[in-house]
């Protein structure tokens, strides 16, 4: 009997407090994680030219940022040493937050509070990470050893996921993210170096640096393949064509440089992960990352929906700080749209983070699992949207996967192309430009954001030179407002195929001339690859058979917005008759605004 009790209590102890149990085994009191905020950085020596890489310095110069700021200064070593003396383990030293994360007993933590440089000591809570994109189907199929052949449907999807974001036009304008440095934070990149999709990336040595922040070593090609799947939507390619040329790209930034960081561990609760994300973002800043892609959403394992306000989580605050330092942070909105959580996760809730929702390739509309906005403090999210169902790379080949984890890298690749063209933009200017370029802008809703970003507004001849033509009218009755599609906008033009089409022609209507680089691209064109990164002239993908851009019917989007800009209600409708909507007038009183989008035109009605 005693044996049973003893065994059971031993299990209890290990179950509830494994760290405590471990500590007891070592004859020490149990330790907890603490976050120690320090008071100042007086007297520290800092040499930005030594600390920052050339790329990081160049990024700051381009964006007219100071060479460094107080948050870049190192933490005072005497403070760190004093803390290290009094605690069990120091697990992170953060310059940005002037803080130290450590393991300590409550007594040690109390002693820390008395140190002269310590401003605050708080318990550093645990949380569990949830990769935003892993689906049961994907996880199950990952065990397949032999590469599966790509079906015609999947091949078509692969082409459409980039075509939907004007991939053809971007390639025609030589925009493939060349010269951009993208940091990808993920679970692990298993199988990436050997994968045929990344042959070009590896041959060109465009993975500039890697680091596993959980194990503090450089090998990131283990621990999970979610990062490999995400990378497929940035730099992956389909198998080479028969002529030996490069295969079609699965993402929009196959020519960019990459920093790969392992910050997360699947299916395990690890205290170190949040610190790892912060350490990784400081690392990416130092190494000159232009864009950070974080296809992870942190939700109910640690937070409540009402806490998704962009300030609560450490990574949301870290992401905002990264943007202030000139990096564009792109984050998946989350895959909780069809469960009880519903809302976006963090860091997508941060106001400076570009949160990307998912679209269904079949309809071009919100895909059911994509998380909805707004943030807890009613700020509009997500910002943009892209396909949430894609064909991407897995260690066993190529697979169709679902998740906003893949929407995020698609838009990150798009942003890299646009930033390649407009290197003069700051991160937030690019953020705003991407929003303004989007298909639905200025219309917005919490399912689609502003919709998919488009390339046309970035071309030398913007599409919006002329004011958009109204496509519908508001007809006001005694108690109703009717929305009626104009006759000319109600036509469904037939599509006539040309006799012969070339790829350049396919893009000419949207993009710049295919034979040359637009004037605005001069800087990008003048960029010479770094030594060791030269590429043969014929590395451009072989001409592709032109596929039509996804051709969806014209939908009508409408919402009701209160005077604070918060949406109360929104819908998307298929349009099958000209009288498309009637709204009671009582709903648009007291400052409420009815906003409608149809065929490129957004109209508003208020009383």
């Amino acid at each position: 009997m005693q044996k049973i009790w003893l065994s059971f209590f031993a299990v209890i102890l290990f179950w509830v407090a494994p760290e405590a149990c471990l500590a007891q085994q070592q004859s020490q009191p149990p330790t907890t994680r603490y976050w120690v905020t320090l008071r100042d950085k007086h007297g520290v020596h800092f040499e930005p030219a030594h600390y920052f890489s050339a790329a990081a310095r160049a990024r700051r110069t381009r964006q007219h940022l100071s060479a460094f700021e107080a948050t870049d200064l190192p933490v005072r070593p005497d403070y760190v040493a004093a803390i290290a003396k009094r605690v069990d383990t120091v697990t992170l030293v953060s310059r940005w937050f002037n803080a130290v994360a450590c393991r300590a007993t409550p007594e040690q933590a109390a002693a820390l509070r008395d140190l002269p440089g310590v401003l605050n000591v708080s318990v550093w809570p645990q949380r569990e990470v949830q990769a935003a994109s892993i689906t049961a189907v994907a996880a199950g199929s990952r065990t397949t050893a032999a590469p599966k052949p790509i079906s015609a449907n999947d091949y078509l999807l692969a082409r459409r996921q980039t075509a939907h974001l004007d991939g053809l036009a971007l390639r025609a304008a030589s925009l493939e993210g060349r010269g951009m440095r993208i940091a990808v934070f993920d679970v692990g990149f298993a199988g990436l170096p050997e994968h045929v999709a990344f042959r070009e990336l590896m041959a060109d040595k465009r993975i500039i640096a890697t680091h596993d922040f959980l194990r503090n070593r450089d090998d990131v090609f283990h621990g999970g393949s979610h990062g490999t799947e995400v990378m497929g939507c940035l730099a992956g390619r389909l198998p080479a064509t028969l002529g030996g040329g490069l295969g079609p790209a699965l993402g929009l930034a196959p020519a960019a440089e990459y920093l790969l960081a392992r910050t997360e561990q699947l299916h395990r609760e690890r205290y170190a992960e949040e610190e790892a994300w912060l350490a990784a973002v400081e690392w990416a800043d130092r190494l000159g990352a232009d864009i950070i892609n974080s296809s992870l959403a942190y939700t109910e394992q640690r937070y409540f929906p009402e806490q998704m306000d962009g300030h609560r989580s450490l990574i949301a605050r870290a992401a905002n700080m990264a943007v202030r330092k000139g990096m564009l942070v792109v984050s998946a909105a989350g895959n909780d749209g069809d469960n009880d959580w519903v809302r976006i996760g963090t860091p997508a809730d941060a106001d400076s983070v570009l949160a990307i929702g998912g679209l269904d390739p079949e309809t071009g509309l919100h895909v059911d699992f994509s998380s909805f906005g707004p943030t807890a403090d009613r700020r509009p999210k997500p910002n943009l949207a892209a396909f949430g169902i894609v064909l991407t790379t897995t260690p066993s080949g190529y697979e169709r996967l679902e998740g906003t984890s893949f929407s995020s890298p698609l838009v990150a690749g798009f942003a890299a192309c646009l930033w390649q063209q407009r290197r003069d933009l700051t991160a937030m200017q690019l953020f705003r430009a991407l929003e303004k370029s989007a298909e639905l802008y200025p219309y917005f809703d919490y399912a689609h954001g502003y919709g998919r970003p488009r390339y046309a507004p970035f071309t030398t001849v913007p599409r919006a030179a002329a004011a958009p033509v109204p496509t519908f009218d508001f007809v006001v009755h005694d108690s109703l407002i009717a929305v009626i599609i104009r006759t000319e906008a109600a036509l469904r033009p037939a599509e006539q195929l040309p006799l012969v089409i070339e790829q350049s022609e396919a893009t000419a209507t949207i993009a710049a001339p295919a034979t040359g680089i637009p004037a605005a691209d001069t800087k990008a064109a003048e960029q010479v690859p770094d030594v060791g990164h030269e590429q043969p002239g014929d590395q451009r993908p072989a001409p592709l058979a032109v596929l039509p851009e996804p051709n969806y019917p014209a939908y009508l989007y409408w919402n009701l917005t209160d005077p604070r800009g918060v949406l109360h209600r929104y819908e998307t409708r298929a349009v099958s008759q000209r009288l498309v909507l009637q709204v009671p007038r009582r709903l648009v009183q007291k400052g409420e605004v009815l906003r409608i989008y149809f065929k490129g035109y957004t109209g508003t009605y208020s009383e």
């Binding site: 509830v16 809570p125 569990e128 109910e300 640690r302 109360h568 819908e571 409708r573």
Partner: protein
């Protein structure tokens, strides 16, 4: 937040205006629809909200020593299957109370040996006692660590009682030549106690839990106090369905 696919076929401007329903424009297909107020309401029901409820299934093995003459076969032969509902009221991040109500079936497979006394010294090829029980438990939940809207890691200290709804005693004997099987089942056993009390503990992470229960009351009624006791422990796994 739900998608609605609703098509109504009442065409015509006049008809629609006359009907005048909210947002209506008959003939239009709503593909995406949301009422933000509904989606963003703060709820009091959830895994780490003030109230939470769910059903669960459990399977446990009979464990521990039996009195001489009441030995049972351990392993899967003597086990308990239970299913029930749990209602949790949370007082703080670290403290909550659960109320459970459910049904369990407990079976003791009696060892057939020379010392056997329960329920009689007679030996059979196989022999078992089965108890259908309705149980109710109250448990104090101690949670470890901060968390969001999830159940998290916890220890439950539980106490409860069971009402034995039905009992049966099944014996299987050597068949006579030409008979494949001889099984005798007795129902409504007078020697098994109708009410039992137990204490225990449960430790879990989210939907999974290990549970151990110790029966405080004797298995047999007061008139059979001299009988050797059946094993008092049941230890096993519970899975919450939520």
């Amino acid at each position: 937040m739900r998608y609605l696919f609703a098509v109504n076929k009442l065409p015509g401007l006049l008809c629609a205006l006359l009907l005048g329903a909210n947002f209506a424009a008959w003939g239009q297909q709503v593909l995406v629809q949301a009422n933000v107020a509904d989606d963003t309401v703060k709820t009091t029901f959830g895994p780490n909200r003030r109230y939470f409820g769910h059903v669960y299934l459990g399977y446990g093995l009979v464990a521990g020593q039996a009195g001489t003459g009441a030995e049972v076969q351990h392993g899967g032969a003597s086990a308990e299957l239970r299913g029930g509902g749990r209602f949790k009221t949370r007082f703080s991040q670290a403290l909550a109370v659960n109320l459970d109500l459910g049904y369990s079936y407990l079976r003791y497979e009696l060892e057939q040996n020379a010392q056997k006394l329960v329920p009689s010294p007679a030996l059979h090829r196989r022999e078992g006692l089965g108890l259908h029980q309705i149980y109710s438990e109250i448990s104090l939940r101690l949670n470890a660590g901060r968390r969001g809207n999830s159940v998290g890691r916890y220890v439950d200290l539980l106490a409860g009682g069971s009402w034995v709804v039905a009992t049966r005693h099944v014996t299987e004997d050597e068949p006579a030549p030409g008979i494949s099987r001889v099984e005798t089942t007795e129902y409504g056993l007078p020697y098994l106690r109708r009410w039992t009390g137990n204490v225990g503990t449960r430790l879990g992470i989210d939907r999974y839990a290990l549970a151990a229960r110790y029966r405080l009351s004797p298995a047999f009624g007061p008139a059979y106090a001299a009988w050797p006791e059946l094993p008092r422990w049941v230890m096993g796994l519970e899975i919450g369905l939520f």
